[in-house]
């Protein structure tokens, strides 16, 4: 099989990338989706709040996905469901498998990685205690409740205040469960402020910051959970334990980009984001392999995933039609002083689009500070932000015209400064 463009993953990132590639002149596109329908994790996100940026209205996850799925179908873009990509070689040969076609290979001119992310598991968190039934990642519980219609718990404690955990606190409550508490290891929440208000405060669910689970009881099903306050070293403080009789522990302790396939292709990953290191066209170190969405770095809002993926699709189309631009000067964007990383990491001033959105996260909560951008040593912009938190992605927009005024710089620095 041969396609100009293979898109690995039919979630919001893969769909937007496919649409953009098609609209930019590529007809031979294949989306490969491992699940039984397009739309990815949005299908189980039946709450509203999606699409405020993209459509200027509040949609549910399935509604948001359906708008992109319709566009894919209108354009006649090919896709395969229930199909697992088993390998991506660095020559862009994609090996995939399903029940109908068996195992097959596709030679692609370009590949867009859009595999999304997975949740951090109990094991990765090193939570001590027994290993009974009743410990779920928040996303697994969300699938059981919203897709399958089954309740995985009656009395629930949630560890981690990531957005899925917050959403599931409300969801489980609405479906008849009692959510006793949300414990968060860090002194701040990992989720969006609006979710804390709408999903916890409105239902009188207590949020314990700087707390973690120190014991899980119950050999068959969870029978009790003990949480404790942690000190600045994140170690539990003896005597601060709170015990809950409960049958369920949900975990919402962070998302990890799923880059196992990227590794098979030889894509270089960032230890900070666990996603590929990309340049301004969202291209990885492997020529013609692009990445977008949560496989690149974990997003808070799907609207930004769609924007990013649109760029990846457009850039992949450009690559297929025009090939790689002649070796252009590449600047590194340096994240310092509170900025943990940036996507993209590299920027090519001569070939970049007129504007480039650089997204990043801060490493701690900052109040009344500013995001400062330097071209070399020269301060270019300083934008005040009343509050910045690791749970909310930040951005800086760079202009090609402005960069052109600084032909001699070798890097760009983004940092947090006092306002």
């Amino acid at each position: 099989m041969k396609y100009d463009l293979v898109i690995v993953g039919g979630g919001p990132a893969g769909l937007a990338a496919a649409i953009a590639a098609k609209d930019n002149g590529i007809d031979s596109i294949l989306i490969i989706e491992r699940d039984r329908e397009l739309g990815g994790i949005l299908n189980q996100c039946i709450h509203n709040g999606f699409g405020l940026h993209t459509f200027k209205e509040e949609l549910t996850g399935p509604e948001y996905a359906s708008r992109f799925i319709s566009q894919v179908k209108e354009r006649g873009i090919e896709y395969k469901l229930n199909t697992m990509v088993m390998d991506i070689a660095n020559d862009k040969t994609v090996t995939a498998m399903n029940s109908e076609d068996g195992m097959f290979t596709i030679e692609a001119k370009a590949v867009v990685l859009a595999m999304g992310c997975r949740e951090r598991s109990r094991g990765a968190l090193n939570i001590p205690g027994y290993r009974p039934a009743g410990i779920f990642s928040a996303g697994t519980a969300q699938r059981l409740v919203n897709i399958e219609g089954y309740m995985p718990g009656r009395r629930v404690v949630i560890l981690g205040s990531g957005d899925i955990g917050l959403i599931m606190a409300r969801r489980m409550t609405l479906e008849g469960a009692k959510v006793l508490a949300v414990a968060e290891l860090m002194p701040y929440s990992g989720g969006l402020k609006r979710n804390i208000v709408q999903c916890l405060d409105d239902f009188d669910i207590p949020l314990y910051l700087s707390h973690t689970v120190v014991d899980i009881e119950g050999k068959e099903r969870v029978e009790g959970i003990t949480i404790a306050e942690v000190g600045p070293d994140r170690k539990p403080i003896p005597g601060s334990e709170i015990h809950y009789d409960c049958d369920t522990l949900l975990l919402s302790c962070g998302l990890l980009p799923e880059n196992e396939l990227s590794k098979t292709a030889g894509v270089e990953l960032s230890p900070i984001t666990s996603g590929p290191i990309v340049n301004d066209s969202l291209e990885t170190n492997i020529e013609g392999v692009f990445a977008c969405g949560n496989v690149l770095h974990v997003h808070d809002l799907v609207d930004f995933v769609s924007q990013e993926a649109t760029n990846a699709g457009k850039n992949a189309a450009k690559y297929i039609l025009e090939g790689h631009p002649a070796a252009a000067k590449e600047l590194e964007i340096l994240p310092v002083d509170g900025v943990r990383y940036t996507v993209p990491r590299y920027i090519r001033p001569e070939v970049m689009d007129d504007t480039l959105t650089v997204r990043f996260r801060v490493g701690q909560v900052f109040k009344n500070c500013a995001i400062a951008t330097y071209f070399g040593d020269q301060l270019i912009s300083k934008r005040k932000r009343p509050v910045m938190a690791p749970g909310e992605m930040e951005q800086v927009i760079l202009k090609k015209s402005q960069l052109a005024e600084y032909p001699d710089i070798t890097n760009i620095t983004i940092k947090i400064e006092e306002a």
């Binding site: 068996g102 195992m103 109990r122 990765a124």
Partner: protein, 477 residues
């Protein structure tokens, strides 16, 4: 009336059952849990010791070396993963190197082949990630790794295929001597047997003490472990033991047959024989202790932690054979390390004793081979496509982390002693054993169990008993 009732379907009970099934015998295995391999057999170091550690002349020494010898052929006959990766006992610069010599001598007396002591230079060629303080090591090329689930399940399946009955979810409450036989009482039922084999792990003392005045005392010795992602699986290629030292008996760092890295165990004597919980202190100590032998163990890549209980008998050795004052009651008790390594040899020994006691004849129809669940990853693309054409379920991946197809899960459910729970499927196929730890595949495996067993979704469990996954439909709990 059974000829033999075996209590416990762990690796020891299953090995004895399989060896007994070579005879014309009416035998059963009684297991309290919902599956075989649910106790100590599922939570251990997953290694086959070379046999230099046990004191010469003990049952541990004899059966370890014999069990090790048997594994190559057994793994071929029963189709389970087994690899002779070799083991190293490392000595650091502040430890006494003569301890290595002592181990070497013990090993020679026990009949362990090809042992040698090697120095740091040669060691680093074999294991570049050994700690900087490591100066010497005892190398045992016959040291090996095995999948304890597949070993136990293979033995049990083969025993069942050769006519041994398995009663799962059946706990023996009481054993009484009757006229020339034993009466075992379970929840509301009785099982009569001419002979009883006690392979009840940490509870073996309870059953022995019901019929014998020669009391046993089994202490549950907890071992906590951390299992790392396959990305870390090549950090060492041999099983790296430590010499006993300031930090106790030390922990091992080893690859598993499936390509993960395993670190552990702790050793804590505990009161609670159900105490398979991990503790913060235990897990923290593994991190510290493992660094004495292997440097830079990538602990950020831990995907799960677990604990198992070794059945330590106060006398220190395995307790095997007919109780002096209880004719027809055979113990296989106190089977702690090297129990997994010794299990096939224990099976051989106990089966021979029982057969002699009952005067059993060999059964010419015994078939000692068994095919495991097909692992399609070992097939060429053509073979795999042929497989998918004949059974499309092999084309549908259910567990993305371990690339387990629906075909493998169907096989796990429908074969002899098939899986009935998420953990049953996991131990047989690895679905849910990967880096996401079943987050994505568990709802799908639940659906398959519901459809194929068939069973109600509300009866699907993690590992039997009350380990239910979901309580009811939305709003109806």
């Amino acid at each position: 009336m059974y000829d033999v009732a075996i209590i416990g379907a762990g690796v020891v009970g299953s090995a004895i059952a399989r060896e007994l099934s070579r005879y014309k015998v009416n035998a059963c295995v009684i297991e309290r849990d919902e599956d075989v391999c649910c106790g100590t057999s599922k939570a251990n170091s997953a290694i086959v010791h070379a046999g230099f550690d046990a004191t010469p002349g003990t049952l541990k020494a004899q059966l370890n070396v014999r069990g090790n010898e048997m594994m190559d052929q057994l793994s071929k006959d029963l189709d389970f993963p087994f690899k002779r990766n070799g083991s190293l006992v490392v000595c650091t610069k502040d430890q006494d190197p003569s301890l290595l010599e002592e181990l070497l001598e013990k090993g020679k007396k026990n009949g362990v082949p090809d042992l040698k002591i090697i120095d740091r230079e040669e060691l680093l060629k074999m294991e570049p990630n050994l700690a900087d303080d490591v100066v010497k090591a005892l190398y045992a090329p016959t040291g090996a790794i095995v999948c304890p689930f597949h070993l136990t399940i293979a033995l049990a399946e083969n025993a069942a295929d050769n006519g041994v009955e398995f009663f799962l979810n059946t706990e023996v409450k009481e054993i009484k001597k009757a006229d020339g036989h034993y009466v075992l009482t379970t929840e509301g039922e009785t099982i009569e047997a001419k002979t009883v084999v006690n392979a009840a792990g940490v509870y073996a003392d309870r059953f022995n003490n019901m019929v014998s005045d020669k009391k046993l005392e089994i202490i549950a010795r907890r071992g906590q472990y951390m299992l790392l992602d396959k990305d870390a699986g090549a950090h060492v290629s041999h099983t790296v033991f430590q010499l006993p030292g300031k930090m106790g008996k030390g922990v091992l760092v080893t690859p598993t047959v499936h390509g993960n890295l395993l670190v552990g165990p702790t050793a804590e004597d505990i009161e609670n024989k159900e105490g398979v919980n991990t503790t913060m202190e235990g897990l923290d100590s593994l991190a510290a202790t493992s660094s004495l032998s292997v440097k830079n163990v990538p602990l950020r890549q831990v995907i799960t932690s677990f604990a198992g209980l070794r059945a330590h008998e106060a006398g220190g050795d395995f307790v095997i054979g007919e109780a002096e004052d209880a004719k027809g009651f055979f113990n296989a008790a106190g089977i702690e390390s090297p129990g997994l390594s010794s299990a096939p040899a224990i099976g051989e020994m106990v089966a021979a004793q029982v057969a002699a006691s009952l005067g059993l004849e060999k059964d010419p129809s015994f078939n000692g081979t068994r095919k495991g669940i097909l692992n399609p990853a070992g097939l060429s693309m053509e073979e795999r496509n042929e497989l998918i054409r004949s059974n499309p379920a092999y084309g549908q991946i259910i567990c993305r982390c371990e690339s387990v197809s629906e075909g493998e899960i169907l096989d796990a459910i429908h074969r002899t002693l098939g899986a009935r729970s998420l953990d049953g499927v996991k131990r047989r196929t690895r679905a849910g054993m990967g880096r996401c730890q079943s987050g994505f595949c568990s709802p799908k495996v639940m659906e398959i169990l519901e459809r194929e067993v068939p069973m109600s979704m509300f009866d699907v469990t993690k590992n039997g008993h009350d380990s239910k996954i979901v309580f009811g439909y939305n709003k109806k709990i």
